[in-house]
Point group: C2
Chain length 276, copies 2
């Protein structure tokens, strides 16, 4: 495999789950990701579904906890889960905060020092990683979808809205849909992107949807017992933005569910089927 | 709830997953466990299925990684996953080894010092925990099953074979079926139970099955790519013991699967259905 280091591999639901590292030119250092190849991938190329994880996660959380492999095997989809940031870059303080730096790349291309040199997660997700997948795995690169959770739901929406030709479908669990208006987003954007909020709009799903729309309905699940709902997630902002431009949105409030992977696992089947 | 401290709770597949701690009289200190109550449990009492985890695990691994809740919700079973040992007992060296002491209680009642005072996992699993469940949850206590993984597969088999009236069914993933003959078991038994190997027989499924049999067929899944298969797990020893006493055993070798929860998740549906 080109430039890929296989860290571990496990058989899962008749398919193959691998964890990889590779030197990333975009992030200027080692990056990690996980790939689940369904049983069908031994016979033919299959569509690819990217999952972007939330704050503090690695490439492992989704594969270990979501239960997605069962449905990826059923529908014949490849799953790709990248890490949530560069790690061990040497940037001073990178590990000091759980919601910024390591584990919190926010899927943006940082323009500010000292993050600029490594924190290029947006370009990594939409360009370098898909190219690597296309080279090394039996992927139908013209059939890509993307989804994610929390910070990764934000990332999935931004990647899809800005690249509708690359992603045929997008969905999210408890996404940060209005990062310009919430503390997590304001903290990350001000330090990765600087104080000029014009540059933030490119990474705010509620701003983007009004500018560019999306070619397909968007599916979002949101738990009503999610402790981050009112302050950080703000689904009503995205709902209003979609309504303003007649963007079809299926925003489902799931009664009593929280922000955890137990919530994700409970509805992962619907999302996999939606993308399939 | 009697003597129970709720640590956290998440909705999962329409049911309720809770993590609890409580003062254990059997283990002479705090113990932890997790309970998944399926949606049906809001209306009536439901059967209970205990899962015993393997070395290094806590009460969380099974609930986070196995995907069992989906099927427990479908079949209306309560799942109970205890921790794998007492913790923070103050015994010198309890945390020093990954395969002995903390996270490695081996589901025995220790007779040797210094473990004797806390490491009473067998009695905890078959007596104290079920009594606690019966008092605090809508459990059909006359309908209990038990299963487990690796060290926990050993524990499940031992608990079921010695208490066939308490457990209507037993199954296991990659269990340690002949602990008297493998390094993990010999290390644990010699230090928890002492040098008299007669006392070990009470905790060795391959010895027990020849003495007492079991009233129902036993289901075991074993991955062929499991790195512990040849040295530690020895399923062929149990298979021969079952054959010798005409004990029905469904030992399934799963081609290419390893020892991880990815293996467990791939076959958990079969086990839940078997117990249901």
């Amino acid at each position: 495999m080109t430039n890929l280091n296989l860290i571990s591999e496990s058989k899962s639901f008749g398919g193959k789950l691998g964890f990889y590292s590779h030197p990333s030119s975009t992030c200027n250092g080692e990056m990690r990701f996980a790939v689940y190849q369904p049983p069908q991938a031994t016979q033919k190329s299959v569509p690819v579904l990217y999952f972007l994880s939330g704050l503090t996660c690695t490439e492992e959380n989704f594969m270990a906890k979501s239960g997605a492999q069962r449905y990826a095997a059923e529908y014949g989809l490849m799953l790709v889960a990248p890490d949530t940031s560069p790690r061990n870059t040497g940037i001073a303080g990178e590990d000091d905060e759980w919601d910024f730096g390591t584990g919190a790349g926010f899927y943006v291309d940082a323009t500010e020092q000292p993050w600029h040199q490594h924190y290029q997660m947006y370009s990594y997700i939409v360009q370098e990683l898909p190219a690597l997948i296309a080279t090394n795995f039996p992927a139908q690169t013209d059939k890509q979808g993307i989804f994610g959770h929390s910070m990764g739901g934000h990332g999935a929406l931004v990647c899809a809205l800005r690249n509708p030709q690359l992603y045929k479908s997008v969905s999210a669990f408890a996404p940060i849909v209005a990062p310009m208006r919430c503390p997590w987003g304001q903290k990350a954007f001000s330090r990765y992107l600087g104080s000029n909020q014009e540059s933030w709009r490119l990474y705010d799903a509620s701003e983007l949807i009004k500018q560019v729309g999306y070619h397909s309905p968007i599916l979002i699940d949101q738990g009503t017992a999610d402790k981050f709902l009112a302050e950080q997630l703000l689904p009503e902002v995205f709902e209003q933005a979609c309504a303003a431009v007649n963007q079809p949105l299926n925003l489902r409030y799931q009664q009593g569910y929280d922000h955890s992977y137990y919530f994700i696992a409970s509805f992962i089947e619907d999302h996999i089927r939606y993308h399939a």
